[in-house]
Symmetry: D2
Subunit: 171 residues, 4 copies
């Protein structure tokens, strides 16, 4: 099975807007049917996506900083002993594609980290934060530097995200 | 579910003695029924243990160096991007107990790494390598330094190993 | 003594424009008089800055990936055994301020990594690459996310850079 | 200049015996005249060795865990952001030879880590802890596993240590 990471906002998921909450859970459900899902294992987007994965009986792995415990929905947790950012590089190395939802600086580092590790990124357009901000600095609308290491895609719906996944890594 | 790591000899498992091969597979089967099994994800003991885990429908996770692919029996693989030894510290951090079978210098580092992370170690006595060698330098027959961070146990059979596991981490 | 990192373009420094070459060497000279200078230890900006530091009898440390040797101008080299990006986080953790000159994706990760570790960044405006690109996505002209972890400054000359350094970390 | 690491007991150096204190300072002085000295940057043996290095105007680098500050005698400090053990692997990777004085589990991991990275180790015999304990398990009196990756030497005096250094890495 192919492996897909979902990255994005951390924080208390109960404070998320209803539409953001639903988007995350729905993405978890769709990805959980076909792929192994990797997240940073913590709260926010990570928790809601793993919740969705669990609802469809899929598998999600949480790649955690230090010796933190993962959220209650991860199937398996990996405690890296590394700080937040270094552990993010283990997360992106492990997957075929990265899907990004909103997010602050940690998400930005993961988007760039994915690209530098030649992993395609799918930005869920309209979710705010760095997922939208990074779109302003894309080269030729799809690269993050002149080396063109990987393609950065934009998706405006889950359906579109699934089509890009199918195209790039197959079912 | 509790988590148990198995460490030990790497190398081509077809070159292992029949009794060592059987021991590893049997340990994988027994652990796979009750615990999540973690290994270094590569060949040798790691491969045979994951084979045993798979035979009973259990789950094994391989914590791999660099971006290496795991052996064909691991349920999930985690590529750490780290070298052999640094990745060993992620392995031991993730589990409740470590079981050791023979092994060269990498195994020795994992035994000491487990102890320094306050994880109990069960040495499968008679399997050679560092699993037997380390027994010569135990303090009071069970510690690896004067800080007494964790207990190092010896088991001469799988049954004894299972009893120690039950005693230390429950079923 | 305070510690300052310089990050930016890698590659053959002989292929750099004369003005870029001179900027890097001059920055090395100015920083080398007052601060310990940290770089990624490799070629490009890293090499030219260390050359400048050496010319004034200063000290530069190169924080290297894997077990690579540093360029011939670093005073001391530190081989981290980590890949390019993970080692970048050791680089930014070690300094009080980061100065950025041009740069591709690795530089972008270092700018964000510095900010996420609450280190001020001075962008040498007009040097191209991510040093200029990142300016398009600053929040309130100086932050990289809503948490406002550190200030991102812009300098259009070495003199301006030195003034910002004086203001933020003293001489 | 060649690079030599000194590893060993941590803890308050004022509680060390007079002879151990003098040994560490003297080793620092002798190494500081000819080599760049690397330590773990903290207290105990690390501090006393750096004190000796400083007394002769030499250079010592402290490779520190997390974002800890080094002892007051280190010339330069490197904060790795990594935990105690992972940072030890950066320490041993950076040097040509490792000298060991006493030590608890962290020192044991560094001795094995040096050997696994093919670095010769000089055990200062009679200093207790793992420096003496490891001698009980050497294969053919000088190896730490069957792969014979590097030689483990024993020295009973500073003079002997210096001769081994001269023989293995030159002056």
């Amino acid at each position: 099975m192919k492996r897909v990471a979902v990255i994005g906002y951390s924080g208390n998921p109960h404070l998320f807007s209803l539409s953001l909450k639903e988007l995350c859970i729905e993405i978890g459900k769709e990805l959980g049917k076909k792929y192994i899902v990797y997240t940073g294992g913590r709260d926010g987007v990570m928790e809601l996506v793993s919740k969705g994965v669990k609802e469809v009986g899929g598998v999600s792995l949480g790649i955690l900083p230090f010796e933190e415990d993962g959220n209650k929905y991860v199937t398996h947790q990996i405690q890296t002993g590394l700080d937040f950012q270094m552990r993010s590089f283990i997360l992106v190395k492990n997957v075929d594609v990265v899907v990004s939802i909103g997010g602050e600086i940690g998400t930005a580092i993961e988007i760039l980290g994915a690209y530098s590790n030649r992993k395609p990124v799918i930005l869920m357009s309209g979710t705010g934060g760095w997922t939208d901000r990074i779109q302003k600095v894309l080269i030729e609308g799809k690269y993050l530097d002149n080396r063109k290491l990987a393609v950065v895609y934009k998706a405006t719906s889950i359906l579109e995200m699934l089509k890009i996944l199918e195209k790039t890594i197959g079912e």
